[in-house]
């Protein structure tokens, strides 16, 4: 058990993350075999890999999926795949991914002129923009008409279903990865910063000042108490056999979903760099709480009616078999990942906490589990954590170091990264489910 809060090293600006001290990443991450695998195969580990390396089992799985998605056989040409990732990442203003995939796009033989902006790409790709926009911000709006527009035989430059599925996976992958990049404050790669036109894209607030506060002895003991309290609540939730009326459950769900107070204050950011904005159309379209009581509001999606395990997988398996297996595995790893530790405690069953985070994220995206009591979310997730989770999931570009440091103050960084992994996967699954449901409806 390390006591890192007492002795947090200063962050080097060149480290992989603005939030997490480089030493900790190196200490926990690169000793592991998966990391060295990455190092050897890529020649170097990029910052995402280094941060994710805190959770090697997940990293291995993530790498497999990403490789299959971007490198291996699939219906879309390699350069197109990178271009789609660029478009998707640009929606969340993630210049890290945009830069990374721009060079990959050129390496894959992509046409340089496309990088001048989305208007230079072929119309077929441009048609994808609506879907991209919806997937990124309001996936619940996606209907079969959106799919039909792209797939129907009459359409010019039409998409085949197999291509579309791959594009959808690529986009959701990029969106959720953008969440991760923002959520963990990933620094731009060294070669990216050399680019003069590029401004540092990750949050630049000095994290040291924020963290400095945590050194205060009194706050520290407060934090220790918070952990104890949380653990007690978890025990309680697990044992609790009390029953609630139907209405109570629904209200609880709605309450979680519509806590719009949690919207982050608008962080003043420097103007979006051109290298990102040129890939964005309709930049004002962002996440918005839908009012479920409104007349034309889309109904809540019930997890029991369209679940990944039953329906999503079956459809994906039909259209893009190998990816279905990989994603299934990735979701499972992400859901099951635990070290039975919590801050300074070990041998803790964290399943309720993980479940609460997962369900909270999907709840923000309008997916409801009939068999889950959303009161648990309220009990287990402190307010600052909710703010952080909701921001990273819905407005990742607004994440600040302050948010990162204000929740779970006594937890390890690796545990916060763990939250990010859950976030990323839950978010990706939610968006995928909406898209796949629309495709299913189109097909029937």
């Amino acid at each position: 058990m390390k006591d890192e809060a007492d002795d947090l090293p200063e962050v080097l600006p060149s480290g992989p993350s603005a939030f997490i001290p480089t030493e900790e990443i190196l200490e926990e991450g690169s000793t592991h075999e998966v990391m060295s695998d990455v190092l050897l195969s890529e020649g170097r580990a990029d910052h995402i890999n280094m941060v994710m390396g805190l959770h090697p089992t997940y990293l291995a799985c993530f790498q497999r999926t990403q490789d299959a998605l971007l490198q291996l056989d699939g219906p879309l040409p390699l350069s197109w795949r990178h271009y789609i990732v660029i478009l998707a990442a640009a929606r969340h203003q993630c210049s890290y991914l945009v830069q990374h995939h721009s060079s990959a796009f050129l390496l894959a033989g992509g046409d340089e002129s496309w990088l001048r902006g989305v208007h230079c790409a072929p119309p077929k790709i441009q048609h994808l923009q609506t879907l991209n926009k919806l997937l990124a911000h309001r996936p619940w709006i996606i209907t079969q008409e959106h799919i039909q527009e792209l797939v129907c035989p009459g359409a010019e430059a039409r998409w085949s279903l197999a291509e579309l599925i791959q594009a959808v996976v690529l986009m959701t992958h990029a969106h959720s990865l953008a969440s991760f990049v923002w959520g963990c404050g990933i620094h731009p790669e060294p070669e990216q910063t050399e680019d003069q036109t590029l401004q540092p894209c990750s949050p630049t607030d000095s994290c040291c000042s924020v963290r400095g506060k945590a050194r205060n002895q009194q706050e520290w003991s407060e934090a220790v108490n918070e952990v104890k309290l949380l653990m007690e609540r978890m025990m309680m939730v697990q044992q609790q056999g009390e029953e609630f009326t139907q209405e109570e459950m629904v209200t609880r769900f709605e309450r979680e979903r519509t806590e719009s107070l949690l919207e982050p204050a608008d962080v003043q950011r420097s103007v979006l760099p051109d290298c990102v904005s040129r890939f964005v159309v309709d930049a004002d379209f962002t996440y918005q709480d839908f009012s479920p009581r409104g007349a034309q509001a889309p109904p809540t999606m019930r997890a029991q009616d369209y679940s990944w395990e039953d329906h999503g997988f079956s459809l994906m398996n039909r259209l893009y078999g190998e990816m279905a297996q990989l994603l299934d595995e990735k979701f499972q790893v992400a859901c099951a990942l635990t070290y039975h530790t919590m801050a300074m405690h070990s041998h803790v069953d964290t399943s309720t906490l993980r479940k609460a985070i997962w369900n909270y994220i999907q709840c923000i995206y309008g997916i409801r589990y009939d068999d889950y009591d959303y009161g648990e979310v309220n009990q287990l997730l402190e307010r600052s954590l909710k703010v952080y989770v909701k921001t990273v999931a819905c407005h990742p570009e607004k994440t600040t170091a302050r948010m990162y440091f204000s929740f779970w103050r006594q937890f390890r960084h690796s545990e916060k990264v763990h939250v990010n992994l859950l976030l990323m996967e839950a978010r990706m699954q939610a968006a995928l489910l909406y898209a796949l449901r629309a495709i299913t409806r189109y097909m029937t």
């Binding site: 050897l40 459950m249 029991q304 009616d305 395990e309 329906h311 039909r318 009939d370 068999d371 299913t440």
Partner: protein, 779 residues
């Protein structure tokens, strides 16, 4: 009771009714007169009347129905006709008693499960025993006389998808899990399962005990399979396996039919299939009524195999009659035909078809000259009385071609290897290829090449060889021997007459021809010509003016509505009568043949004319003909010729031909080449092709997987260092540097290095440069 049911159901028919909401599950009561439909927003009982469903009862009462009504599964008790149980998505298990006097029929509510309950199941003979399986990984057994569960069975945190009491063993039940396992439990021993085995990869969505065969369990999974397991032995054995098209959501054995079961799928596919497990490749019967995924299937009565009820997400409830089912077998093609790599031919057909011409094997031999019907292998399937499939014992025969026979594909390989496609002037390429074709005894192709040379290049000296080829081309052995003698005789006659008359007007000419034909009694052909004549009237007229001494070849013309050819035919140079005689039958032979062959004929005529008249026509002029010729070759299956010509002609013809068609030809040719392992040729073709889609073939799948030379384990795909043993792999044995480029290695000892280094080394020494003592050889 049973009898009554049967009587009533015999009068039933395929019928359906609209539900208000999608159904999740259905169940029938024991006497088969009522069916309960349950879903997220529906919970109703329908009566099964002779001519339709009648709504009997809506169990969803109350202003704001609770989630307890949101049913994932429903079951009607098979002993007690007033008792129902539902599994709710919020984890509640509810029982309903229809005999309750008030509107709310809910009897008991068990909320012991933490997550969605996927399945409830009543004991088949015990009135008060109910079993549930839930997403939280637990199965619970309830005694309906008590308020709580009697026992809990833990599936080790894996979600339970289905639970089923055994029909025959009082204490046994089966549970299927999301991780692909199936467990057998004894109801008296909640501490441990009796048996566990992995049935599927991915979730097992359903299972069903055979109603009669003790120990037979059918399972269906997300891996699209239905498997039948025999549990009666010590080791669980998979006895049947049916591969379906989509994840299997439900499986139900068909009553009274030992080998039949019905399935429906979770996604994509909306049909209900009834399979005979012994015939896993084609469904025995299909019900195709539903418009969305079928979620529940149940046989209406446990002893009646003819009625199937189904509920679906499309909000309909159907009763399917077995007699109305479609039988895919009837639509299946019972014959199969396939060529082997070396020209062998396998043919499978219904045995009845095969046995008849058993003596007529001669026919077969003639059709495949040089072939030998060496093994007529017969696969017999013992006719099974219980099996209701159409009698389908088929016979498989294999026709083997002799190695040196012309039926083999040697010509293809030789041609592919010897053709020149680029690197020389056009005329030389053509000449070369013509020679190649000729030497391989393929005169038609040879002539084509010569033609092309003449058409598209500056007029060369009329060479004798061309003429020679022409004669040969006339002798093509391609014609069906169908009444050839007669025809040629007839034509000969005609020719003579025509010449004598030297008729100028085509119409009269044709009339004459008609008369001739009539007198000679081959009416069919006469008609044929006549019809065409009408069609081509105008052109024929114009031709007349062009050239008065119309030759007998004009008779051939009307058959193709192809103006160019007529014009070319205008100046034939009085070929030798012999040649004519042989050509004519080709053209006016059987319809099909003539259509295909005429282009060739016209070419030979062109060439002759070219020799005599200097070519006034620009190369472009020939494009339509060449295009047709290429199409002809491709149609005949000789894509080799089509593609070779396409490449050699290059820009001269490319624009004339549809891009897609070109691509199609290229793909076929490349595929053929690769099947014959002619990698170099195939690569050359890819390189020379002008289609974007083809050229990028060379850029795909360029990954080469290698193992580390030190630890012999697979290398990751990038970098020079093995990630396992951390040493440089692929080190040159001569200079001991990492080889980044062409690496050559000995197949014997697997040592190697830079191409130049190894070449040099082996010039001086016979031994391996690595010093392993192997005598390497560089060829």
């Amino acid at each position: 009771m049973e009898k009554m049911t049967r009587v009533s159901t015999i009068n039933g028919r395929t019928m359906f009714c609209h539900l208000d909401a999608p159904a999740n599950a259905i169940s029938v009561c024991r006497d088969a007169t009522q069916v309960v439909v349950a879903g997220r927003n529906i919970f109703k009982i329908y009566g099964l009347e002779e001519d339709g469903f009648v709504e009997r009862l809506n169990l969803r009462v109350g202003r704001k129905p609770s989630l307890n009504f949101s049913c994932a599964d429903v079951m009607w008790h098979q002993m007690e006709e007033n008792l129902l149980a539902t599994a709710a998505t919020n984890g509640a298990v509810v029982t309903w008693n229809l005999s309750r006097p008030c509107r709310n029929k809910q009897e008991q509510l068990f909320t012991e499960h933490k997550r969605t309950v996927n399945k409830v199941c009543f004991h088949p003979t015990e009135v008060n025993m109910l079993l549930s399986g839930s997403q939280d990984g637990f199965m619970k057994c309830f005694d309906l006389r008590k308020k709580e569960s009697v026992s809990t069975f833990s599936g080790q945190s894996e979600s339970v998808r289905d639970v089923q009491f055994s029909m025959k063993d009082y204490f046994t039940f089966a549970a299927s899990f999301e991780n692909g396992n199936v467990q057998l439990w004894d109801i008296r021993r909640p501490d441990r399962y009796e048996r566990m085995f992995t049935a599927h990869t991915g979730p097992v969505f359903c299972c069903d005990w055979h109603p009669e065969d003790r120990g037979w369990l059918a399972t269906g999974g997300r891996d699209k399979m239905v498997k039948v397991w025999d549990m009666s032995t010590n080791r669980v054995k998979e006895i049947y396996c049916v591969q379906t098209f989509a994840s299997v959501a439900r499986v139900k054995w068909r009553p009274e039919r030992r080998y039949h079961l019905a399935t429906c799928s979770m996604m994509v596919d909306h049909n209900i299939y009834v399979w005979d497990v012994r015939r896993p490749f084609i469904p025995f019967a299909t019900f195709e009524e539903h418009k969305d995924v079928t979620t529940g299937i149940v046989w209406r009565h446990q002893h009646d195999p003819y009625f199937l009820l189904s509920g679906s997400k499309d909000s309909t409830l159907y009763q399917h009659m077995f007699k109305d089912a479609s039988r895919p077998v009837d639509r299946a093609n019972p014959e199969g035909l396939c060529f082997g790599l070396f020209g062998d031919l396998a043919f499978a057909a219904k045995e009845s078809l095969m046995s008849a011409p058993a003596s007529a094997g001669d026919v077969g031999r003639k059709t495949y000259p040089g072939g030998d019907r060496r093994y007529p292998i017969f696969f017999f399937k013992k006719p099974d009385v219980t099996e209701q499939f159409a009698q389908v014992s088929s016979a498989l025969s294999v026709f083997e071609s002799e190695a040196d026979s012309s039926a083999g594909m040697d010509w293809f390989i030789n041609t592919a290897q010897s053709y020149l496609l680029s690197g020389k002037p056009f005329a030389e390429l053509c000449e070369h290829n013509a020679h190649v074709a000729k030497s391989l005894n393929r005169p038609q192709e040879s002539t084509t090449w010569t033609m092309l040379r003449i058409m598209f290049s500056e007029p060369a000296n009329p060479s004798l060889s061309t003429n020679h080829n022409l004669n040969k081309s006339g002798n093509l052995p391609l014609v069906n021997s169908f009444s050839m003698k007669e025809m040629s005789g007839a034509l000969n006659e005609r020719n003579k007459e025509n010449r004598q008359d030297n008729i100028h007007s085509l119409e009269t000419n044709l009339n004459n021809n008609d008369e001739n034909e009539e007198t000679e009694g081959s009416e069919g052909q006469a008609e044929y010509l006549f019809v065409d004549d009408e069609l081509d009237d105008d052109e024929l007229y114009s031709m007349e003016h062009d050239n008065q001494p119309a030759e007998e070849s004009e008779y051939l013309l009307p058959q193709e509505a192809f103006p160019l050819r007529h014009e070319i035919m205008d100046h034939p140079s009085a070929p030798e009568p012999l040649q004519e005689k042989q050509e004519s039958p080709h053209v006016s032979g059987s319809e099909a043949e003539s259509m295909c062959l005429t282009p060739m004929e016209s070419f030979s005529l062109i060439s002759v004319s070219q020799q005599l008249f200097s070519p006034h026509l620009p190369p472009k002029f020939f494009c339509p003909i060449v295009k047709e010729m290429l199409c002809y070759y491709a149609e005949q299956g000789d894509v080799q010729m089509a593609v070779s010509v396409l490449i050699v002609l290059g820009d001269r013809i490319r624009k004339e031909i549809d891009e897609l068609m070109q691509e199609h030809w290229y793909m076929s040719y490349i595929d053929l080449l690769q099947r014959f392992e002619l990698w170099n040729v195939s690569n050359e073709v890819i390189k020379l092709s002008t289609c974007g889609a083809i050229m990028c073939l060379n850029q795909a799948s360029t990954t080469l997987h290698i193992n580390c030379s030190n630890c012999k384990r697979p290398m990751s795909n990038k970098g020079w260092i093995c990630d396992r043993c951390h040493q440089c792999a692929s080190v040159c044995a001569v200079c001991h540097h990492v080889v980044k480029g062409l690496f050559v290695w000995c197949q014997g000892c697997s040592h190697g290095g830079h191409l130049e280094h190894v070449m040099e080394w082996l010039k001086q020494s016979k031994h391996c440069p690595a010093g392993c003592g192997h005598l390497c050889e560089y060829t």
